[in-house]
């Protein structure tokens, strides 16, 4: 530091007037957009944990049959409404590895209920990688191997059994296959329609925009639940469970797109004003190219976040329809179909475990919401 005679302060650290114009100003931002989003998302702990949890859930879907000890429609007529059983490790203070105590159903002649009495003397260790009833691994490969099954002479109903003596735990695993994918198919339909209509409305504006907006408003003003009911009631009853499943997903998608189309339109309107879009137009790019190359890539992250936030609505929609008996039908298994059995208040009171399928629904919906929230927060990686 120097003081000049006139009282001026002058810094004397070396100064390079020709600062290098090749130097990157923000080295930290020198990466593709998805990487920047990921770096920011990584800091959102709740979203990250939810994302990993959901990923595991989806990865487990194809091998659900392997993990489940029973197949979904396998009946144990001796064990109707059996309560949840525990898997124990210690017998009389001694480690024996995972085992179950066998239970026996006895009729209570006072209450006219089946009572399940556990025989605490017999130790029946669980079998691993054992042969049991046949199922299709990933829906394709027929096999009989299960991760674990009940030992001879005992049952393993981790979360109890239902009115027909089917294992609730196994059914929840199988139900996940439909309940979790219904959202994905629905969202694809909704995406296709929403992006299509939304981008057309947002990009072209004018009369097209007006028409699409009115269409959206009409669709949004229809009461949702009765419309679902009407549409699913129109599905012929002789269709197989798979076609019903697809139709239900598509119905959910068709009713969901207006919200997405609105979001897309609003985003398009704001992106259109960006100078890079005007630059592309001035270079002579066609509207299709501008939408494809400039608008959509800058918009995908928003789309993914809003999709993540709409999947829970789809899952809940399917559950609601099936709960009312208008969605999927037996023998298909979904969480909604399972809850259909829990419609009766009396049965929930006496057999509370029939309402267990609510738990995975709550957990999955929450996880999707946390994930969507985290994604939304990390969408704009360029800001500080």
């Amino acid at each position: 530091m120097t003081r000049l005679p006139d009282g001026r302060y002058v810094d004397d650290a070396p100064f390079d007037p020709a600062a290098n114009i090749q130097e990157l100003e923000r080295k930290d931002l020198d990466a593709p957009g998805w990487l920047l989003v990921w770096r920011k998302f990584r800091k959102h702990k709740l979203g990250l944990v939810s994302g990993i949890f959901l990923l595991i859930c989806y990865l487990l879907l194809p091998v659900a049959g392997f993990i489940a000890p029973y197949t979904p429609n396998e009946r144990n007529s001796d064990f109707l409404y059996a309560p949840p059983q525990s898997v124990n490790l210690f017998h009389e203070g001694e480690f024996v590895g995972p085992f179950v105590y066998p239970t026996v159903a006895e009729a209570d002649l006072v209450t006219f209920q089946w009572k399940f009495v556990t025989d605490k003397t017999r130790v029946l260790p669980l079998e691993f990688f054992c042969e049991a009833s046949e199922y299709n691994l990933a829906g394709l490969i027929p096999t009989r191997t299960h991760l674990f099954c009940a030992p001879e002479g005992a049952t393993v109903f981790l979360w109890g059994s239902d009115r027909l003596g089917r294992d609730v735990f196994s059914r929840i695993l199988y139900g996940g296959q439909l309940s979790l994918t219904v959202g994905l198919i629905g969202i694809s339909v909704s995406f296709l329609l929403g992006i299509g209509f939304g981008s057309i409305a947002g990009y072209f504006g004018g009369k097209i925009d007006w028409t699409i907006n009115r269409l959206i408003e009409i669709l949004r003003s229809l009461p949702e639940l009765p419309l679902w009911l009407a549409l699913s009631a129109a599905v012929p009853s002789n269709w197989g469970p798979v076609s019903v499943f697809f139709i239900i997903s598509i119905i959910l998608g068709i009713l969901d797109w207006p919200g997405l189309a609105r979001a897309v339109r609003a985003k398009f309107l704001s992106l259109r004003e960006e100078e890079y879009v005007r630059a592309a137009e001035m270079m002579g790019a066609s509207s299709g190219r501008v939408i494809r190359k400039h608008l959509l890539p800058n918009f995908t992250s928003h789309l993914i976040a809003s999709a993540t936030l709409s999947i829970p609505a789809m899952i809940l929609g399917e559950t609601a329809l099936s709960f009312l008996g208008l969605g999927l039908r037996a023998p298909a298994v979904s969480w909604g179909v399972m809850l259909n059995d829990a419609q009766n208040l009396a049965s929930i009171e006496i057999y509370p475990w029939t309402a267990i399928p609510m738990l995975p629904i709550i957990i999955i919906v929450l996880a999707f919401n946390f994930l969507g929230d985290g994604l939304r927060d990390s969408l704009d990686p360029y800001a500080d």
Binding site: L4, D6, G7, R8, Y9, V10, D11, A13, F15, P17, I21, Q22, L24, E25, R26, K27, L29, D30, A31, P32, G33, E274, E275, Y276, R278, A279, A280, E281, M282, M283, G284, A285, R289, K293, H294, P297, N298, Y382, D384
Partner: protein
């Protein structure tokens, strides 16, 4: 004499990062003005926000002391409780922000927003507060204070809003006013008037002022003391007089050299030759219809351009200068065929001296494609003109891709070559635009505009979003490229000083009309029109002995009805553009 405010050894950092402000210290004497000068990223705004402790949440003051010796005795602001700090803000120390658009709440009447200060700090009743606010409104130059009190921010122009902000900052009679680039977002004539107002108010009330700015011209007009900052450190500090007459630090020197200036001793220039015109605008008008609010009133017609005739000779630069809303951007958009002119207007473009002209105002598809290869544009905002999801390579080769020119390898070579031409390294091709600074991005947009080997480039305020020293580099680059490749520029700007250096001919526009047109030297040598005179006078010069002549500014920048008889025009009577001397046209009654 004890200083009103003293800042010692201030260090500020964001999050876990290194300090963005390092060991900054200065003192503000009562009644004096201190200017904090620096470019973007210099830490000047963070420093002045630290005084009021209104930093973003992740920023912390890591070291240093800020002491205020105001009306309530000595206070150490850095150690004060948040509750006591609130009593200081807007009372003893108040602040004016850069964006008048965003610093007033759109939901509340201006009068109420200004009175709030008095309700909060003086516990004043509504009636008394209103009386004081109305007095202040009158003082800051609202023609009808009662009406201003009842109006909402969006009903006012930027200059008027900034006046309202000044009234708000002044109403509690602060000891210290912090003004963070108060005039950067304003037109140059409005800037001159707002600066003049601030200076008058300061003389009246005897408050001290911290003025944050990047413009040495503003400093020369306003400040007694100057602190020059760069990258969070003080480079040079001292009295404005000494610092401006003999800058001691190389950075100050660099700022000086880079500041565009209107030439001090201009000479009469010969008129441009008009025999090989690349672009011709003949009688171009553009009228927009704005639906009126009630059914019974006729729709409002807005004349964005009125009878604009412009000729751009090949290899030259034609600049259109005017304030916001003068129609300069509309004229450029029409010249590029982005919008059609009103019937009767004609835009002719000749890509080659002996070729047939393309009629830009009535192009079919094929003609449009041919035209788009020849005419390109460089945009104003370097941060939004490159798509954040495209690598530099893709952004640069896009024009070639659209017009299906060359193979992928040829396109890549071309992009590398153009990058070199704008002074950047070809390894930048694989990078993404957000890693670059504003100046680098503007180079990239220039490279992109050059990809198709155009004959004409329309530059829409290409340097107005850049720092002074970067602006200088970009202007030099544009000049070099023009001379090397024989390009012609249509250059849109609001800044006469920028135009002075690059243009061969300048058209000054006001309210959709060209009011004066001449080569820049002639224009500065012999400005005739009151509006041109106002523009020249309003340009702040970094020279303490040449203050802004506010009278000249006020006269020319007012409405056209208030101009001297010879130049006056109204909606119905418009004088024609008259040739005064060869190549110098002025709109006046003869």
């Amino acid at each position: 004499m004890t200083p009103l405010l003293s800042v010692e050894d201030l260090c500020i950092g964001f999050g876990k990062g290194p300090d963005v402000v390092r060991n900054v210290g200065f003192e503000v004497m009562p009644g004096q003005t201190l200017a904090l000068v620096g470019e973007s990223g210099s830490g000047k705004t963070v420093t002045c926000r630290a005084i009021l402790r209104i930093l973003p949440r992740i920023a912390q003051i890591r070291d240093g002391r800020i002491t205020l010796n105001g009306r309530s005795g000595g206070l150490e602001l850095t150690a004060l409780k948040e509750r006591r700090m609130r009593d200081i803000r807007g009372d003893a120390v108040s602040m004016i922000f850069q964006e008048p658009m965003r610093s007033l709440s759109p939901l509340h009447k201006i009068g109420n927003q200004v009175s709030e200060v008095l309700w909060l700090h003086k516990n004043m009743r509504e009636r008394d507060a209103k009386r004081i606010v109305l007095e202040k409104f009158e003082r800051v130059g609202f023609p009808d204070p009662e009406r201003a009190y009842e109006s909402y921010p969006f009903e006012m122009s930027g200059g008027m809003r900034q006046r309202a902000m000044i009234a708000m900052a002044m109403v509690s009679q602060p000891d210290l006013l912090i003004a963070d680039e108060p005039t950067t977002a304003l037109d140059v004539t409005t800037q001159a008037q707002v600066l003049g107002l601030m200076k008058e108010l300061q003389a009246e009330t005897g408050m001290a002022m911290i003025l944050v700015t990047h413009d040495l011209g503003v400093v020369a007009n306003m400040a007694e003391q100057v602190v020059v900052m760069n990258r969070g450190r003080v480079m040079e500090a001292g009295s404005a007089d000494a610092l401006l007459s003999a800058p001691a630090h190389p950075y100050t020197q660099q700022l000086f050299d880079a500041a565009p200036a209107i030439p001090g001793e201009p000479e009469l220039a010969p008129p441009l030759e008009q025999d090989d015109l690349i672009l011709q605008l003949n009688a171009v008008s553009k009228t927009y219809t704005m639906r009126s609010q009630s059914m019974w009133k006729p729709d409002l017609m807005i004349h964005a351009c009125r009878g604009v005739d412009l000729n751009l000779p090949r290899g030259k630069t034609l600049a259109i200068v005017g304030e916001s809303g003068s129609g300069k951007t509309t004229a450029a958009r029409i010249a590029l065929g982005a919008e059609p002119p009103d019937a009767g207007g004609e835009v002719l473009f000749r890509a080659h001296p002996d070729g047939d002209p393309i009629a830009v105002h009535k192009m079919d598809r094929a003609a449009r494609i041919a035209f788009q290869k020849q005419a390109q544009m460089v945009f104003q905002d370097p941060y939004s003109s490159l798509s954040p999801r495209m690598r530099i390579l893709d952004a640069l080769t896009e024009p070639l891709d659209i017009h299906r020119i060359g193979t992928a390898a040829e396109r890549r070579d071309m992009a590398a070559e153009r990058l070199r031409a704008v002074g950047m390294n070809p390894d930048m091709l694989q990078r993404y635009p957000h890693a670059f600074s504003g100046g680098q991005r503007q180079r990239l947009s220039i490279a992109r505009a050059m990809m198709l080997d155009p004959a004409l480039i329309v530059c829409d305020e290409p340097t107005s979003a850049l720092d002074v020293s970067v602006q200088e580099q970009i202007l030099t680059l544009l000049e070099d490229i023009r001379d090397e490749m024989n390009l012609s520029y249509l250059f849109i700007s609001h800044d006469l000083a920028v135009v002075a250096r690059i243009a061969d001919e300048v058209a000054v526009m006001r309210q959709g009309l060209v009011v004066e047109q001449a080569p820049p030297e002639t224009l500065f040598y012999n400005p005739q029109h009151p509006y041109t005179k106002a523009l020249i006078a309003a340009q702040p010069e970094p020279d303490i002995d040449r203050p802004i002549d506010l009278k000249l500014v006020a006269q020319g920048a007012g409405s056209p009805e208030s101009w001297p008889e010879a130049f006056r025009f109204s909606n119905t009577v418009i004088p024609s553009l008259t040739q005064l001397e060869p190549g110098h046209k002025v709109r006046c009654h003869v």
